[in-house]
């Protein structure tokens, strides 16, 4: 905080009031409701409910579909984060070193940031449509009996590819900014000391890029958990058999389509705890391992 500050009897309260009111009504209260409802069994049609302690949590963990969704979310997030970060890093390194056309490449590699995941999902659906989509035709021509309606692997492949496509641009922006913030003196010194471009990348550039990389990783995990809702809802709706349903998508399915409020709230609370743990890990554990 600032050393120099204003003092006023009511002005600061007036200034934070709008933000605070919105947060209390639309954040704190609903979050508290989710916790409360996760301990209750409600009948939405009859309008009655009772307190059932941890029953909802027990049935969530007993639900085989939840385990399927949990495993899918982990695999999905890992693959999306690793693939889109790798592609973006490669492109950023190349764009950083290119002599001609850097600004054109920058525009052409960043615009996808502005495409909504749901719109990406719609376009992706068309590209994978049986007999009509070029990607479908391409995959089938390799001998792959591609059938995302029935086969979980094929369906996962489609949502992962579209989610990666959507995320490359954001990662590219951050990696390029990270690369360009490495001081010229360091780069020049590295060039003199180490002739091999490949070794220079591994021993100098990559360690210096670690803070950016860590930040991008956090963004990607958040993206894969939450923002890919639009991709999944437009492409597979969790099908076949819940095989492509992320945890967030399952909260929506069970709560809104299945009207299981208690179960859905319990899943929400588990997700909240998961996010809090991830945040704690982010601050405590990983940051210490990275050299600045």
């Amino acid at each position: 905080m600032k050393r120099q500050q204003f003092q006023h009897p009511y002005l600061p309260y007036l200034l934070v009031a709008p933000q605070l009111a919105i947060i209390l009504v639309f954040f704190v209260w609903p979050a508290a409701q989710a916790v409360y409802q996760s301990f209750r069994l409600e009948d939405p049609l009859m309008g009655i409910g009772e307190f059932v302690w941890f029953d909802n949590y027990a049935s969530v963990f007993d639900d085989r579909q939840y385990v399927v969704s949990f495993v899918f979310t982990i695999v999905f997030s890992t693959l999306v984060a690793v693939s889109s970060m790798t592609i973006a890093l490669l492109l950023a390194v190349k764009a950083d070193g290119i002599l001609h056309g850097e600004s054109a490449y920058k525009v052409l590699l960043t615009w996808v940031y502005a495409v909504a995941p749901a719109v990406a999902g719609i376009v992706g659906t068309f590209l994978f449509t049986r007999n009509l989509g070029p990607l479908y035709n391409l995959l089938v021509s390799t001998g792959w009996t591609f059938n995302p309606q029935v086969n979980v692997f094929d369906a996962s492949f489609t949502v992962i590819l579209v989610s990666v496509w959507k995320q490359v641009s954001v990662n590219f922006i951050y990696f390029l900014a990270g690369l360009q913030s490495i001081p010229v003196a360091v780069r020049e010194a590295a060039k003199i000391d180490c002739k091999s471009e490949f070794r220079r990348f591994w021993t100098i550039t990559l360690p210096l890029l670690a803070p950016t990389g860590f930040f991008v990783l956090v963004i990607n995990v958040t993206y894969a958990f939450f923002d890919t809702f639009g991709v999944i809802d437009t492409m597979t709706r969790g099908a076949p058999a819940g095989g492509t349903s992320t945890l967030v998508y399952k909260v929506y399915q069970d709560g809104f389509l299945g009207l299981d409020l208690g179960g859905s709230s319990a899943q929400s609370v588990i997700l909240m705890i998961l996010v809090l743990v991830l945040t704690a890990v982010q601050f405590r554990f990983l940051e210490r391992k990275i050299q600045y």
């Binding site: 905080m1 600032k2 120099q4 500050q5 006023h8 309260y13 200034l15 934070v16 709008p18 933000q19 605070l20 919105i22 947060i23 009504v25 639309f26 954040f27 704190v28 409701q33 989710a34 592609i87 490669l90 492109l91 190349k94 764009a95 290119i98 002599l99 490449y105 920058k106 525009v107 590699l109 960043t110 996808v112 940031y113 502005a114 495409v115 909504a116 749901a118 719109v119 719609i122 376009v123 068309f126 007999n131 009509l132 989509g133 070029p134 496509w165 922006i173 951050y174 930040f215 939450f226 809702f229 639009g230 809802d233 909260v251 929506y252 709560g255 809104f256 859905s264 909240m272 996010v275």
Partner: protein, 281 residues
């Protein structure tokens, strides 16, 4: 040797560009064809002769249950959502961050933590109780209900807090010596300093608001409030039910849905990248 390397680099970069561009290119090219062509020969890589027919039908002809929804209406709603979200968020967060950074007040610490706790949990994890709160307040199918709950996250407040903290101490000192009060200092000194920051955050928030999907789906049952990003799916279902699925129209809708935010980001490239990168710190 050096030259050869650069050629390889260009090949890699161009592959990246094509990987990103081709899906949207194919969507746009196919949307300019007759539905029979798409059904018979698949999606197209080059343009057809049906551009005007497809786009005028999508933009101006009514579809949906009520027969009143068209892309123009949905684009208008998306614009209201995008602008309302970004402007609302900036208005609220600039003053909240100002109070947090520049004032010493008893409840300051507690308020700070309440506001920033909202950074931890995205709307998606508390979606059902949020929906219930909005329903109880009678805000379903309204722009207020669409926009306000989305603003309930402190991202922008956090950015502005970081930015204000980087403003030199001496500015406030000298402003005080010149007799400036909290209002003068905010309007005459802090706001002019923040213009680039505000522009950058505005661009990012506009894109985030425009691209909302799950929340508008829950909030709007009245077709008059459909935004283009969430409206496509409903219209897609309808188009597929026809004897002759008009995929050209569905693809045209997708192109229309992504065009405005993409244009904003491309035209205001420098500010947008600055906004993304600066706010990271």
């Amino acid at each position: 040797m050096k030259k050869k390397n650069q050629i390889l680099d260009h090949i890699i970069l161009i592959s990246g560009v094509l990987f990103l561009l081709l899906p949207v290119w194919i969507a746009f090219a196919s949307s300019t064809h007759r539905p029979e062509v798409i059904l018979g020969q698949g999606l197209q890589f080059w343009f057809g002769d049906y551009f005007w027919e497809t786009y005028s039908a999508v933009l101006f002809d009514g579809t949906g249950f009520t027969g009143k929804v068209n892309a123009l209406l949905m684009l208008g709603n998306s614009m209201i959502l995008g602008l309302g979200f970004s402007i609302g968020k900036i208005l609220i967060s600039t003053i909240a961050a100002y109070a947090i950074v520049y004032f010493r007040f008893p409840a300051g610490g507690v308020i700070f933590w309440i506001i920033f706790s909202s950074l931890l949990l995205p709307l998606e994890v508390r979606i059902i109780p949020s929906y219930e709160v909005v329903a109880q307040m009678g805000l379903l199918n309204s722009y207020t209900g669409l926009i306000l709950p989305l603003i309930a996250s402190a991202t922008a407040t956090f950015f502005f807090r970081q930015f204000y903290k980087s403003v030199p101490e001496e500015l406030l000192e000298s402003a005080r010596i010149d007799g400036a009060g909290p209002y003068r200092f905010f309007v005459d000194i802090l706001m002019p300093l923040s213009t680039t920051m505000i522009a950058a955050i505005f661009i990012i928030m506009f894109v985030v608001g425009w691209n909302q999907y799950l929340w508008p789906i829950l909030m709007t049952t009245d077709e008059g409030y459909y935004t283009i990003v969430m409206g496509i799916k409903n219209i897609l279902n309808e188009l597929e039910g026809n004897n002759l699925p008009e995929y050209n129209k569905a693809l045209a809708l997708a192109v229309l849905a992504l065009l405005p935010p993409v244009l904003v980001v491309v035209l205001l490239q420098r500010w947008f990248v600055k906004g993304l990168v600066e706010t990271e710190k």
